[in-house]
Structures are given as C-alpha cells and as structure tokens.
C-alpha cells in the first residue's frame, strides 16, 4: 500500500531564489505529520508543490503513489487531497454553508444542464450533500452560523470554515496550513481535538503547518523541520525538541543560550533572516 505523501528531492526556484532545496520526507498513513520552520522556510511552497499549484524544478511528489508532477491541482484533489489555506480563501459575501458546500464539489456530479433545469437528480444530490455539510459544520462548531455571510465571522470562525470546507471534500490526506493561527487558546484546543478525531475516527492522514510549538509537540506523530528551503531535521517530537540544529534555526546561533526548552515550550520563535 502506498504512502499518502512522499516528497522526493523537491527543488523549486523562483527566478534566482532557491525556495526549496532537495526537500524529501514521507508521511505515513493515518498519522499527523507536522511541517515546521521559521518564517520563509518554504512550508507553504511545499504545500503548493504537493497540491500541484507549483511545478518543482527537480524532484517529484507522490500522492497515494501517483506522481503529482504533470497534474493540474484539481486532478490532485481528485486523488483525495484536501487543503485548508493559510490566507483564508473564502467567499466573504456567501453564507457559511455555501462556502463549505464548495468543498463537496468533487463529490458531486450535477452539471450545467441538470442544475439549470433543476432536474430531480440534481435537487436530490444538492439536498443530500447539504445535509452532510450541516453535519460537518456542527462537528467544527459552526452549527448556528450556517446562514451568516462568511465575512461576518471572527477570524477564528473563518479559519473554522476553511477547515470545514477541507473536511467536506472527505479527503484521504488533509493539508492544513496554519489552521489555528490567531485563535485564542481554547479554540486552538478545540481544533486540535477535531484534528485528532479526524485521524482516529476517519483514518485521515494529516499534514499540518503550524507555529504553535506546544500544540505541535502534543499533536504531531512525526515532525519535519525546514529552514531556508532545506530539511534540517525529521523525526519524533521528542527528538526534534532536543535537536540543536532546530534550536539554532529558530533562535539564531549568535543569540546567548537562554533556557531553550522553555523557549520552545512557550512557543517563541525569532525571525533571523538577514
């Protein structure tokens, strides 16, 4: 059985800038795998390569054993990849329920003719999927807000819509790009619990990018660390926490050693770009 995601020696250049440099890692099925690193390390670019938005200059990505390289993003989505975006990509003026319904697109069959004519098959399909969306919305805590315009929700609320939409596509692999950024602690715990539930009950594999260290340490089964577009560490949370290269990457070698473990637990990272 093939692994959900396998990245092999991915390199990506924009003009003269090397954004990713021979990045390789494997995501095991049914696991929560975290991708961490300082700002600008290449995490979002990695996501974009995996889902097919960027074509890597070298290397390849296998999703469920299939080479993503020549495929359009919608074809990669059809392989069972779902994605929640870092910069919220919602339709602000549309109600929450419609935003989540977009996630059902690849699971539905209604075409232009069926929809335009309002054929019974189309209507029934619409109703069926709408029910499922209402369930998913309840699952993430948006049950009361289905008809509100997506733009009227708080930042945390909109992040939840993003997550719900990604879940709505019933993916085998879920890409979460900073799903809890900007949320208060109790909401972060809620989301973390949902992610765990998705892994445990649905068997979904999760690849998550996040900056919240304590959250990652408690949530992730395995962690890959990027810095300057390169993989500098890959292993279990405990190993990563102790790894001197990781600590140096986050804090900068010039800094005096403060109790780094405390620093990591508090989740402080320093921007160390020139």
């Amino acid at each position: 059985m093939s692994v959900p995601i396998e990245a092999k020696e991915i390199s990506l250049r924009f003009g003269g800038v090397k954004v990713l440099d021979r990045v390789s890692f494997t995501v095991e099925p049914g696991s929560i795998h975290a991708l961490i690193g300082p700002n600008g390390a290449g995490k979002s670019s990695t996501f974009n390569v995996i889902c097919g938005l960027y074509r890597p200059n070298e290397g390849l990505v296998l999703v469920d054993g299939q080479n993503v390289g020549e495929r359009h993003p919608y074809q990669v989505a059809e392989l069972g990849l779902g994605r929640a975006f870092q910069n919220i990509a919602l339709v602000a003026h549309a109600p929450v329920v419609d935003n989540i319904m977009v996630g059902r697109h690849r699971l539905m069959r209604s075409g232009f003719l069926g929809s335009a004519l309002g054929l019974p098959g189309s209507r029934k399909e619409e109703a069926r999927h709408r029910e499922r969306v209402i369930e998913i919305a309840g699952f993430v805590g948006l049950g009361d807000l289905l008809d509100a315009p997506a733009g009227s929700l708080s930042y945390g609320g909109r992040k939840k819509i993003e997550l719900a939409r990604a879940l709505a596509s019933e993916p085998k692999v879920l890409l979460l790009d900073e799903p809890v950024a900007g949320m208060p602690v109790h909401e972060k715990q809620e989301i973390a619990a949902i992610v765990r539930q998705v892994r445990d009950d649905l068997g979904t594999t999760v690849l998550i990018v996040e900056h919240d260290m304590p959250l990652i340490m408690s949530l992730a089964d395995r962690i890959t660390v990027l810095d300057f577009g390169r993989v500098i560490a890959d292993g279990l949370p405990d190993e990563i926490q102790q790894d001197p290269t990781v600590i140096a990457a986050y804090l900068g070698e010039e800094e005096n050693a403060i109790d780094t473990e405390v620093m990591l637990q508090v989740g402080i990272e320093k921007e160390h770009r020139p």
Binding site: Y74, F85, V102, G156
Partner: protein, 375 residues
C-alpha cells in the same frame, strides 16, 4: 484571499437575525409580479409595449453577462458580438427566401445554438486568460464582428441590414399581427404578442440562470472569481468552468439577439457595436454583479431611460433635439448611466441588488448590533 471588502470582524452573537417572515412572502410577491406583467398589455400603448419588449430582450442578455462577469469574475466586452450572431442567425435560418426557411421556433433555437457555438470557438482563449485580460481581449471580437456583419452581405445584408421574419407557431404570429385576435376588446397586435414572447423568454432565462447560480456550477464560478488557485486546489477544473461560463453567457446573448431582432423586425450592424457591449455591462453593474434580479432591473433602466426621456422631452424645451449638438436624450442618458456606474462602484459595488437587499433587511429588522474585534 477574497477580493470583496470584508466588513469588520463581528462576534457571531451580535448578528441579529431578521423577524421571521412567512414562507409565502416570496412566492406571493412573484405571483403578483407575474399577474401584473401578464395584464399590462391591456393597458399600455404601442410605444410603451415596445420599450417593455426591448427591455425584456436586453434583460435576457444582461442575465447571461451577469453570470459571466459577476458570478464567474470574467470581464467580457464581446457580448454584442454574440447577440449579433444570435440575431442574424435567426434571421437567416427563418428567412423563407435568401435563407434556410426553417420554422421560426427551430430557427430561434438555432440562432442561440450558433451563438453558443461561437462562444465555444472562442472559449479556449477565454479559459486561459485572467478576468481582466479577457475583457480587454474580447474587444477584438466586437470589431471582427462588425467586419463580418458588413461584409457577409448574402447573409447579413451588409451595412444596409436585413429584415427579420416574424416569429410564428403554426401560422399564429407571436411577433407580428396576423391572424387578428382580441382579448377583452383590446386588439392583440404585434406589440402585444411580442410582449408575451419576450416575457416568456425572460422567465425561462431567469429560471435557468437561477438554477446554475444557486447550485454546484454557481458555487464553482464564485470560487473561481475570488481565488482561482484555491478553486483548483478544491477540485474545480478551472479552465473547463471558465470556458463553460463563456459559452453559457454567449447563449444568453444569442437569445437576447433573437428577441431583439424580432422586436425591431430589422437588423443593422450598427445595432451590435461596442456601444451595445458597454450597455450590457452598464445594465449588469447597475443591477449588481452576479444578481439575476439586478440584471433585469438594470436592463429596464438602461433600455427604457433614453427612450422615455426622449418622448418626455419631445414636447418641452428641456432637452435638445436629436443631432443638434445640444444635450439630447441620448447624451443625457449616457452621462447619467456613466455617473451611476462610477457612483455605485465607489459607494456600493453590489449595485441596486445589494442596495435593495440592505433596504429589505432594514425593513425586516435584521442587522448587526455591534462590531467587535476578535474575542
């Protein structure tokens, strides 16, 4: 990232929902509107009926354009071209001499299909271009269209134009006056019948467009408009949908063209120049991008205003005569529309539809009690 401006973050508990209205309110309003529309021909004179038919014909086109520009986010200035294809397509197919002599109903469908096919031919270009880029490039189609209309003389009659065979079903004319027929003492001539033909077509157009917009295709279009990359990553075949949006809007434009041809009974290339494309865009903007109801309202406003102004000012000295170089009805109308577009975009880009929505919500007591930051 969503392009429409997002209001300040609101605590969900502060969103006050409307007083519940009866589930019968909307259907009742629609029924009333339909009855009014059905009965009006008994009371309006020929000039007003013409304005009505022309407005409804334009509305069919505006609905197609609002789906393309408003829902799918693809600007197009080629709408006039596809209207021309539909109009001249029908005229040629229905003509008993110098034409294919098809039954008018079939010819009308044929005109729409040809317009859709023309859209299909251009769709590979449409699919690859970003919304704005497409708008700029689509100008070319209008000019090419003008060239074709002026030069394909056997089909189009060239610069002098050609007449349009009236629409009839088994001999009963729906855009002409024969056989003679009266309702409640009011003779139902060409204008009255054209009104019903246009009304029927408009209702069909509204039904189909609503079906598309509120279901899966419409949601895909809206996603494409706001964020193409995200749409693709969510499993939407962006190129296919952009092409489809273009073909569908071309079909609606073709329908508008057929109706306009029937209403005018004569076609000339000047009717289908850049001015018509810009008029369609004005209708869609004024009504509200993406709103079917708005497109209809916009169509009525843009079509009727110059004509009503002209007849209103005919007797008085308020406006100058046509061609005099003064402020005539056409000039004043254009300035009004241009100003309306500018003001709406600055103040309420959602157009009249959004303004209407806000007014309706205020009447029902809905709204937001306070704006708070993220808790």
């Amino acid at each position: 990232m969503s392009k429409t401006s997002i209001p300040d973050a609101v605590d969900a508990s502060a969103v006050r929902l409307a007083r519940p209205t009866s589930v019968w309110t909307r259907p009742l309003l629609i029924a009333v509107a339909l009855v009014v529309m059905a009965v009006l021909p008994l009371y309006l004179d020929a000039q007003m009926l013409k304005i009505g038919s022309w407005s409804m014909a334009a509305a069919v086109g505006a609905i197609g354009l609002t789906m393309l520009v408003g829902t799918a986010g693809q600007l197009s200035l080629a709408h006039a071209f596809f209207a021309a294809v539909g109009a001249y397509g029908y005229a040629f197919l229905a003509a008993p001499e110098n034409g294919a002599a098809w039954p008018p109903a079939l010819a009308a469908l044929g005109g729409i299909v040809i317009a859709a096919f023309a859209g299909l031919l251009f769709s590979p270009v449409a699919a690859r271009l970003r919304g704005l880029y497409l708008g700029v490039a689509s100008l070319g189609l209008v000019f090419i269209g003008q060239h074709l209309l002026k030069n394909l003389v056997p089909v189009t009659g060239g610069v002098n134009g050609r007449s349009v065979t009236p629409f009839d079903i088994f001999g009963f004319q729906l855009s002409g006056g024969s056989p003679a027929f009266s309702v409640a003492g009011v003779p139902f001539g060409a204008q009255e019948r054209m009104w019903y033909l246009a009304l029927f077509s408009l209702l069909v157009a509204i039904y189909l467009a609503n079906g598309i917009i509120k279901r899966r295709p419409g949601r895909a279009f809206t996603m494409i408009r706001d964020n193409q990359a995200a749409a693709s990553a969510l499993g939407i075949n962006v190129q296919q949908y952009k092409a489809a949006a273009f073909v569908i809007s071309s079909a609606f434009a073709g329908g508008a063209g057929v109706l306009t041809g029937l209403a005018y009974a004569y076609l000339t290339p000047q009717n289908f120049g850049l001015g018509l494309s810009i008029n369609f865009l004005a209708m869609v903007l004024i009504g509200g991008l993406g709103s079917v109801g708005g497109a209809v309202v916009g169509a009525v406003i843009v079509t009727a205003t110059p004509l009503l102004l002209a007849s209103f000012a005919a007797g008085s000295n308020l406006l100058a005569e046509g061609g005099s170089g003064g402020y005539e009805a056409g000039t004043v109308s254009s300035i009004l529309f241009g100003a309306l577009i500018v003001i709406l975009i600055i103040v309420e880009p959602g157009g009249l539809a959004r303004l209407g929505q806000r007014l309706w919500q205020r009447v029902r007591g809905a709204g937001v009690t306070s704006t708070k930051g993220t808790p």
